[in-house]
Symmetry: C2
Subunit: 502 residues, 2 copies
């Protein structure tokens, strides 16, 4: 049995090496690659992914997993080896159930769709991508149908990024959330708008990056095992446990852009940095799900990084870094500026309160498309209608409407968006437990100290990597199912104070 | 036949993708990788190299090459397809003749030797690496003996980097060169030493990099398909035809360091950038040999970049970039400074005239070790004796003696050094032909124009990639065998004028 486990780990490590190499090539593509390198880079990435995929779906791995099942079942559920065998088995089944030909055709189609989208979006031309999207919907259904026995056709697609989550339970959770959120948004909108002009002076790039770096170092981001570079879109990537990188983009006329994307990506990175060394080089050495991952980025970005105690400590330092721009701006003004709530058209620009409305619109539209109750050709109108009803806004065009997010134009329809809002809900649920266990955390944040919070998160979430599904982890950490209550409580308390809500 | 050729190319392209990925990972390791990433990176690199090697020695490739031989022989020798089949066959034979077990053991030994050397060099402790080096010598002989039928045991090792070159012919060429060089060095040393203090003011890094970038852009280095970054040791690397990168290091108190390493690496890069697109993704898409590659780096670094016409054009621009440091320094003083000849202990710091003496010492010692006429334990004394006789110098220790170069401590003994001096000899032989064909070249260099020279090199050398061996290429370009005459003529003319030699 030991020999078989060692052989499984050897094979998984080789696949991990290929995936790590793929991540390096992707990172370089987004950071430093000269333009003429693009064509070959695409080919190199395809070759590496293909090799990693071939090695993972090797029937020999299936056989090792079969042989190791009794051994896994003889061990505690949360032991490293039992978890490795269990989680690898699930991933193996997912990877082998979609026929290679279907997957290949879908990847080719996705690449073409993405290309079409890069042109259609600036041209505001939904009809140019409509036939692609119709095919994407067809592919998405075909892929879902490789996993018969689902309750909802979106379930297998959701399961790819948020294992164990199901359309109906997510829909119920989101419906409850929307019911609570809409009145909060309405109450805020009725108040005078916060002034955020202090964020829009001219802030030199190097000073912005230096400040962000100082904060995330204090958070616990380890620059001996990571770094930050600039890209068009911020992201976090992992090459190995000792090499986890984040990227950001800087707008000299918007202080919040680089700063909060840095805190956000650092949250993702610290999760990966905190995974137990014992899981390194295996499928367990990653986050539990896209929702849990997002919970950590949002926790460090929002629950910590947009909190009043945080800025009570850091605002004088920020003022010292930008004395001309912020010297005469009060902490209160600044705090209100970075927490300004407004109804807007673009998801990625949205504040903490309205952000989830954007996500839930997309989630509902995905389900409607998959269910067949909405046709792709009617998607732009459905989009507009929901923005009107949920946010009271009318997008002037499809560019800032249905064409705004890359997700549907580079992957399946279904499973793309729920993780963002699940992450927000979880961030508050986890933070709530951290505060209950370690009541000193908020006071420490007010002194620019984060070790207790970081330690609690490592102990309760990070170290486990992908051992547990999101639901298993939530159960372990909170003692129950995912609840929106801590999140709504958090929003009511924070924004109630900011906007004098009753 | 077409299907077999297509299948060969498909397999070679996949291997090329893996090699390109390996190059990206190596580049990142030297440029941006955080320290904690090192262990996993070593593993990822080993996995990629192993995969590429396995795919290349696949007997199916041997069979395709066998089947394609009649087709290749039916085509003109210099056609793309005939060259591809011929050159791939030679590389395939080389890769398959060394047993995998021997190669694996040698790589493991090399990694351990390198580790030992990184400690032994600063500690000035040759005895710490002596047992490693004895094993390296043994491995080198074993690898050479995988290719029976050689004239000299070093021939197979030389052939790895300078295909077709042989120990005896290189020894004869070098002996002739030394005979000519030593009196030139002696005559120069008898003259007053040139003053190079103007290079040792303080030169800000960014300005140094900007000036180097401007020059190599004028040379023809294409920044749309390449870039420059900083590393501990300068190098050139290729990820694909459209992504060729160079690195440099900057010393703020030595203007020559970054500038000439930039021109040198740009020469390597422009060679790779000039390879015909038709050869892309095959073993032909690289330089012909280490010597030919070095000829191009040395040509752009020295024959162009340290020439008087070049600086007649660029010196005013350099003065404008560094007015405080160089404003009152005359062109003549600067030109003498960058061409100062002096006997020194370190190969990589040596000037154009003495450089080859360093290389030839190493080459002769390699041969003596392989022949068995020199024991590893006697290598430090032999080194000292040759530096005394050839350069009139006594190294104070082994650190700046036999421990100075990484080559023997990271690869075979044999084949490591001859390419540097072959490259110098070739650089003048090729430049001589370029000037004969295009007499306007020197005048154009004096105007900061390089298109005619670059065009001639592309046409006659670069586009062919690795189609021809060094000797074949020299025959095509110069009409005969490699001769030291153009090189000696070049040195006599240039340094005769600089040092008033008769």
């Amino acid at each position: 049995m030991e020999k078989k486990l060692a052989e499984l780990k050897r094979r998984l490590l080789e696949i991990d090496d290929l995936n790590g190499a793929t991540a390096v090539l992707n990172w370089d593509q987004a950071t430093y690659m000269p333009p003429a390198g693009a064509a070959a880079r695409g080919r190199q990435l395809a070759t590496l992914s293909q090799l990693a995929h071939e090695k993972f779906i090797d029937p020999e791995i299936g056989k090792l997993l079969d042989d190791l099942r009794p051994y896994a079942e003889s061990l505690p559920y949360d032991s490293d080896d039992a978890s490795l065998i269990r989680v690898t088995r699930r991933q193996y089944d997912k990877s082998t159930k979609v026929p290679a030909a279907l997957l290949g055709a879908f990847f080719q189609h996705s690449a073409a769709t993405y290309q079409a989208w890069t042109q259609a979006r600036p041209a505001n031309d939904f009809t140019a991508v409509q036939p692609y999207l119709e095919k994407t919907l067809d592919f998405s259904r075909q892929i879902a149908n490789c996993f018969p026995g689902y309750d909802h056709i979106a379930d297998p697609l959701i399961d790819f990024s948020d294992e164990g989550m199901k359309a109906e339970s997510v829909r119920a959770l989101f419906s409850e959330l929307r019911t609570q959120l809409v009145p909060i948004v309405q109450a805020i909108i009725a108040q005078p708008e916060a002034d955020n002009s202090c964020l829009h002076h001219s802030f030199p790039e190097a000073d912005q990056l230096a400040f962000g770096k100082k904060v995330i170092e204090a958070y616990g981001f380890d620059f001996k095992g990571g770094r930050q570079d600039k890209t068009h879109h911020p992201f976090m990537t992992k090459f190995a446990l000792g090499d986890i990188r984040i990227t950001t983009r800087v707008k000299t006329n918007d202080l919040s852009e680089a700063l909060f994307s840095t805190l956000h990506e650092a949250g993702h990175a610290m999760y990966e940095m905190g995974v137990s060394e014992n899981l390194d080089g295996t499928p367990l050495a990653s986050g539990a799900s896209s929702g849990v991952h997002e919970s950590q980025s949002r926790l460090w970005e929002n629950l910590v990084g947009r909190s009043l105690p945080f800025w009570q400590h850091y605002y004088p330092e920020l003022q010292a870094a930008f004395p001309e721009q912020l010297g005469i701006v009060s902490l209160d003004t600044f705090y209100r500026a970075i927490n300004r709530v407004e109804r807007s058209l673009i998801r990625t620009d949205a504040d903490e309160v309205t952000y989830n409305l954007h996500v839930m619109i997309r989630f509902d539209l995905e389900l409607a498309l998959l269910e067949g109750s909405l046709a792709v050709k009617d998607l732009p109108d459905a989009w507009q209608a929901r923005y009107q009803s949920d946010l009271g806004l009318q997008a002037p065009d499809n560019r800032d409407g249905v064409l705004q997010d890359v997700h549907w134009y580079s992957g399946t329809i279904g499973g793309a968006f729920q993780g963002y809002t699940l992450g927000n809900i979880m961030s508050a649920a986890f933070f709530d437990r951290a505060l209950a266990a370690q009541p000193a955390i908020m006071a420490e944040i007010g002194r620019g100290e984060f070790a207790t919070l970081h330690g609690w998160l490592k102990e309760n979430i990070y170290q486990h990597g992908a051992k547990f599904t999101a639901n298993e982890l939530i159960e372990r950490v909170t003692g129950g199912e995912l609840s929106i209550d801590p999140y709504i409580r958090y929003l009511r308390t924070k924004f109630g104070a900011l906007y004098n809500l009753s």
